[in-house]
C-alpha cells in the first residue's frame, strides 16, 4: 500500500477548471480550494452543479476537463490513492438492507483495508456516538431514514478519512438525528479532519462552516466566511438567506 501524503498539505482539495457536461454543462470550469482541517459548505440553487461536482471529486464521474487534487495527490491520475483518503456520503444512504450495521462497517473496513481489530473498536465507538448500539446487530431493512443516514455516516468515518464529502446529509432527518450528525462532523473537524458538505439548510452552513462557497451554473460565484459573503453581496449585517439570494439572484440576472 503506498504511503499517504504528508499531513502538512495545506489544501485537502484543489479543483481547477473542472467541467462536466450532460445534455447541458453541469459543471463549467469550477475553481475550488478547501483547506485541510476546515468545514466547507457548498451552497447553490437546484441544478447549480453541487452534486455533480462532489461526484466528480468522489470518483463517481469522469470530468470532461480540469484537475482534482486531494491532499496534493492527482485524483484523476491515481484515483485509488485519492479514494483511500476520502469518504463519500450521499443524500440517499448507501447501505445494504440485509446487513446489520456492524456487518456493514466490517465490509467497509475491509474495502478500505483497515485492520480488523481497530475497525471493530472504532465501529462500536461510532455506533455508540450515533446512538445505534441497540440496533448494531439488527438488519437495516426496518431502519428509519435517520437511522440509515447515521449508519452511512458511521461507514464514512470507520476508516478515518482525512476528507469527508457529504451531499445533503441532513435532508429528511429529525432534530435529534440532525444534531447527532452535526456533532459527529464537528468532532471530526476538531480532530483535524476536513469536511466538504452541500446543504440546502442555510442555518447549518451559517453555524457550522468555516467557509462557504456559493455555486451557480456550475461555477463558484462567491466564497468566504459569512462576513466576507455579506460584503460581496453588499448586504452587510443581513442573514445568510438574504446574502445567498442576493448572490444567486445576481448570477441569475447576469445569466
Amino acid at each position: 500500500m503506498p504511503a499517504d501524503p504528508p499531513m502538512t498539505a495545506a489544501f485537502a482539495l484543489e479543483i481547477h477548471g473542472l467541467a462536466k457536461r450532460f445534455d447541458r454543462p453541469a459543471v463549467d470550469g469550477l475553481e475550488l480550494a478547501v483547506r485541510a482541517g476546515e468545514f466547507y459548505a457548498l451552497l447553490g440553487p437546484n441544478g447549480a452543479g453541487k452534486t455533480t461536482s462532489l461526484r466528480l471529486v468522489a470518483g463517481l464521474l469522469r470530468p470532461d476537463a480540469g484537475s482534482i487534487s486531494v491532499f496534493g495527490l492527482d485524483a484523476l491520475a491515481d484515483p485509488v490513492a485519492a479514494k483511500r483518503l476520502m469518504a463519500w456520503v450521499s443524500e440517499e444512504p448507501m447501505i445494504y438492507d440485509r446487513l446489520t450495521p456492524l456487518e456493514y462497517l466490517e465490509f467497509i473496513a475491509g474495502l478500505w483495508g483497515v485492520d480488523a481489530v481497530t475497525a471493530e473498536a472504532r465501529a462500536r465507538e461510532l455506533l455508540g456516538w450515533l446512538g445505534l448500539e441497540a440496533a448494531a446487530e439488527q438488519r437495516c431493512d426496518g431502519f428509519s431514514k435517520g437511522m440509515r443516514q447515521k449508519v452511512a455516516l458511521a461507514g464514512a468515518l470507520v476508516h478515518e478519512p482525512r476528507l469527508i464529502i457529504l451531499d445533503e446529509p441532513l435532508t429528511g432527518l429529525d432534530a435529534a438525528a440532525s444534531r447527532q450528525v452535526k456533532t459527529v462532523l464537528r468532532e471530526r473537524v476538531r480532530a483535524g479532519g476536513t469536511v466538504l458538505m452541500t446543504t440546502h439548510i442555510l442555518e447549518v452552513a451559517e453555524r457550522m462552516a468555516d467557509r462557504i462557497g456559493v455555486i451557480a451554473g456550475g461555477r463558484l460565484i462567491a466564497e468566504g466566511t459569512l462576513e466576507e459573503l455579506r460584503r460581496q453581496a453588499g448586504h452587510s449585517g443581513s442573514s445568510l438567506e438574504d446574502t445567498f439570494l442576493a448572490l444567486v439572484g445576481g448570477e441569475a440576472a447576469a445569466a
Binding site: W88, L99, E103, A109, G110, A116, E137, Q138, G142
Partner: protein
Amino acid sequence: MRPCSLAWFARHELRLAWRDGLFMMTAGGRRRLRGVVIGVVLFALFMHLVALLMLGPYAPLGGAPDRTVLVFVTAGALLAASAMLSQALESVTRAFYARADLDLILASPAALRRLFAVRIGAMVLQVSLMAALLAAPFVDVLALKGGVRWLGAYGVVAAMGCASVALAVALAAALFRLLGPRRTRLVAQVAAAVIGAAFVIGLQAAAILSYGSLSRFAVLRSQALSGRLPAPESPFWWPARAILGDPLALAAVLGASLLLLGAAIVFLAPRFARYAVAAASWAEGAPRRRRRRMGFRRGSPAQALRRKEWTLLRRDPWLLSQTLMQLLYLLPPGLLLWRSFADGAAVAVLVPVLIMAAGQLAGGLAWLAISGEDAPDLVATAPVLAGRVLRAKTEAVMAGIAVVFLPFVAAMTLVSRRDAVVAALGIAASAAAATAIQLWFRSQAKRSHFRRRQTSSRIATFAEAFSSIGWAGTGALAAAGTWLWPIAGLVALSILAFARLASPARLEQATPL
C-alpha cells in the same frame, strides 16, 4: 363510473397492468414496440410449427378416449396446474409484501375488500393468460387438425387459473394465521417453488426408482399406475374430458372452479387488508436480532467483497425461491446418481442436466452480484480498482456454483471418472459463460428487481439460455463418447462471441471517450 366501485378499481388495475406489461415488452422504448410485435408473431408461428410436428398425429383423438389418453392428458393438465398454483402463490405473497401503492390505498377511505377482490381477479387473469399463451400453439394445432372441440382446452386453462388463485389465496391466508407475517413470506416462497417443481420431480423420481430412467413417460405408461386410477366414468377425468372437447365436463370444471374463486373472494378478500397491514408492520417493526459471531474478520478488500456477496445471496428471500426451484430439479439426477451406485449404470445422462442447471443458476447469481448492487456509489468510492471489484464478485458467483455442484461431481467420480471430468468442465464453462454474459450486459438495478432481470436485456437473456443449452449439448456429446462434441462446443463459443459483440460493454469500449 362511480369512484371506488369494483369497476373503477378494475379499470385502475387494468391500466396499470397494461402499462406494466407494455414496459416489460418494450423496456420503456415505444419505438421498440413494432420490433417486439414482429418478434412475437414470428415466435408464435415457429411454436405453432413445432406443435404441428409434435401433436399433429394426436389431433383426431377424442370422442371416446381410452385410458392411456386420459392419463396423458390429465398428467399434462396437472403439470400446468402445479406451475399455475406456484405462480399464483407467488403473486399472492407479493400482493401482501410488495408495498408499491399499497400504503396509498391503505391510507385512503376506500372499501379495501373491493380493491382486493379486483386484485384477486387480476391474478386470475394474469395466471390464466400466461398459461393460455404457452398452451396456445398446441391447442390451436389440435383445433385446426382435430376440430373446434379442442378449443375447450382454453376453458380448462381459465378454470385452472380460477382454481389455482383461489387455492393460493386460501393457502396464503392459512399461512398468515398459522405462522404470522414474518414466516409466511419465506414459507410461501418455498412452497411456491416446491409446488411448481413437485409434479415433474415426483414423476421423474418414480420413474428412476421403478425403471432406472429419467423419462416421465415410463410411469405414465405403466400398468401399475393405470391399475390404481379411477374408472373412466369418474369425475377425476372431467378436466381431461373437457380438454378433449366434452362440453358437459367443461361446464362442470368451469362451474366448480368459479365457485371456488367466488368463495375465496367473498370470504378472504376482506382479510387481505388486515394481512397487508400486518406484513407492513413486520417490515417496519424491529428487525431480527442476529447472534453476533466473533469480531471483524481480517482480509483483503476482495475478501470483504466476496463475503458481502455471499451474505447477501444467503439472505435474499426472492432468490431463495428461484434457486430452490433450480436445486429441486437437481433432485432426480441426484436420485439417479444414487441408484447408479447400486447397479453401476452409466451416469452420462446426468452430465447435460448438471451443466444446464449450473448455467442457469450462475446467471441468476451473477445478476444479483454484479448488477444488483444496492450501494454502487459506496463500492465505486472505495480505494479498489473497478476491475478488482468485478473480479471479486465473479469469484463469489463461481464459488457459489462450486459449493452447489461439487458434491454431484464428487459422487459421479465414484461411478465414472470420465463423466465426472466432463461434467466438471461443462459446469465450469457454462457457469463462466453465463457470468461473462451478465458482466457484459451489466446495468445498475436494485436487488429487489431480480424478478425483472430478464427484461433489462433480451439479448442477454437469450444468450444466457442458449449458451447453457450449447454447453449442455457439448457435455452430453462428450459424455456419450462421440467426436461431435467440439462442434457443439464451437456453437456454444459462437453464442458467447455473439453476446460479446452485441454487448453494451463492447460498444462502450469502441466509443472514443
